[in-house]
Symmetry: C2
Subunit: 330 residues, 2 copies
């Protein structure tokens, strides 16, 4: 198994990205193709233990975080993310991982690989730790202004992903809305509700913001604008609570005492708040395995994203996605 990692993507590229990719390779023995500026990558590798199955694929350009995706891809055809998907298209690698501009990553994936039969809009799915287990939110930023039929297709894709990647059985599907009652929300959501009701998915109706992590439904469907805001807010809150906890510990004597005695406890608690633990988010609907990561991913998050790509390939998630789409349209 060979995973291409966009070494130039992310706020701390290439250093942190390279470090995370190496970690994954050392722990599991998988082959890694680091795509990006050879000089910069070599500098990042310097002084580290580099397994023999880690290779460098040079390219001159890279898409920056703030760039408009389509324009950037047009102007930088030789960018690391385009090169990575080129390797996937020509069968030289099995999957692509990038912590770079996620809009550009998705656009490059569509441009190079094309879309799965029956999918109008590929979308980014994200796994969050809910009260009752994993929750899949889709779309978390691939698309704004989704049409109802797109939300329906997200449901079908997420269902296939839940079955084959997470081993769920008939996962519950909820539509993110302002209230649970039928008829709530805007036109887009109300139409999507009707499509989902007749879809054959295990649709449980509308869910609210507070239901996302309570695990009311195992799959949460929403427009990419909302999903992106919700995801970033969740990360922000977890971080804010972590800061609050540290501040409280520092400023009170009982807090300090508790921190000393419960060190292992606090460490575990903090890790449970760290969404980076969950690694990447797969792009569902393109003809190949592409995983996007947060721009400010830690080395551990990159490692986890590479592991996600490996499981994605090993579990034949891509085949299940195609099958489900065909089945759905038939």
């Amino acid at each position: 198994m060979l995973v291409a990692v966009d070494a130039m993507g992310g706020d701390n590229a290439p250093d942190v990205v390279v470090q995370g990719a190496l970690q994954a390779s050392i722990e599991t023995g998988i082959d890694i193709a680091l795509v990006g500026d050879e000089k910069a990558i070599s500098a990042a590798l310097k002084g580290r233990r580099v397994p023999g199955n880690v290779s460098i694929h040079h390219c001159d350009e890279a898409v920056l975080m703030g760039e408009a995706p389509l324009k950037a891809l047009r102007n930088k055809r030789g960018s690391s993310i385009m090169k990575a998907f080129d390797l996937l298209k020509t069968g030289k690698v099995d999957a692509v991982v990038s912590a770079g501009n996620s809009g550009a990553t998705m656009a490059a994936g569509i441009l190079k690989l094309g879309k799965i039969e029956g999918v109008e809009r590929p979308a980014i799915a994200c796994i969050m730790p809910g009260e009752k287990g994993s929750v899949i939110i889709i779309d978390v930023g691939g698309n704004v202004d989704c049409r109802p039929v797109h939300l329906l297709q997200f449901g079908v894709m997420a269902n296939a992903f839940a079955l084959s990647y997470l081993g769920m059985q008939a996962p519950t599907v909820g539509l993110l809305n302002i209230g649970r009652e039928e008829g709530k929300g805007n036109e887009q959501i109300r139409s999507a509700y009707n499509l989902l009701r007749d879809s054959g998915l295990h649709f449980i109706g509308n869910v609210e913001g507070g239901d996302i992590l309570s695990g009311e439904s195992q799959i949460v469907l929403c427009d990419g604008l909302i999903g992106n805001i919700v995801l970033k807010m969740a990360e922000g809150i977890a971080e804010s609570i972590s800061i609050k906890l540290k501040r409280e510990i520092k400023t009170s004597i009982p807090g300090r005492a508790a921190a000393i005695i419960g060190r292992s406890f606090f460490r575990r608690f903090e890790r449970s708040l760290d969404y980076a633990e969950w690694g990447g988010a797969p792009i569902l609907g393109i003809k190949g395995v592409g995983i996007v990561c947060h721009g400010r991913s830690s080395a551990r998050a990159i490692r986890n994203a590479v592991m996600m790509a490996v499981t994605f390939v090993e579990n034949h998630v891509q085949d299940r996605l195609c099958e489900q789409m065909v089945k759905f349209h038939a």
Copy 2:
């Protein structure tokens, strides 16, 4: 000062509502008009210390939580929420507080009092505890499918509220979006961006989900659909983290030890996660003071909402809102 409290509104009405209203009255001496079924209210008052300035205003009906707002108001003209706003309209009370159906509360407010000159859509504002102080999010559920000009008006209203209620000076205003760069988001948001840039408000551009609590901007503007989801998710996460903390404490020895030593610390930390501490959310844009509360408000949250109504009246927030709207349109 006399505050009308919708005694029939909320998941635990009238008991918890009555209890919270009494708390506010006992602590501050303000007069309370409990609006609702006399028998049920009397039963809730039984055995409690009831100050002499707490009165009951009987009515037979109440709007239920799940009811469609406009239909409910049409069929139940004598409902507690309609009666409460009637009292406000006729000058018998100074403000209305309700933990009932928030859509119906807002609709009743508009129906009975009318809208402030220049406001097309009243909206619900909510104050959240950010990293750098209070953050106002508007709209958190009053409207879906807002037009760009509505978002602009929310900004003007929130600005007046921030100045007069929170004592902020030239508060920063951000537009909730999928990314910070100009040009991001859907049509609605991009148009609102242009209006806000030229508005004279202290507009700092787009903010992301992660910026809400970090306090990137003091006022966050969004469609009610998004605001409602974000608000409920924040509450859900805080609750989920609180549950996680308790579970961790129970299952690990260091956790248990830390909990015993740091009891006061943990209690304070938990309270900081409790959004009920912040009480109610004002309806901005109607001709009078109306505060909505969460359906599952605790007595403490109701108490805080009554206090908010009092400050709202004392600080002449309503006058400032009208002035700012006139000034803006001029």
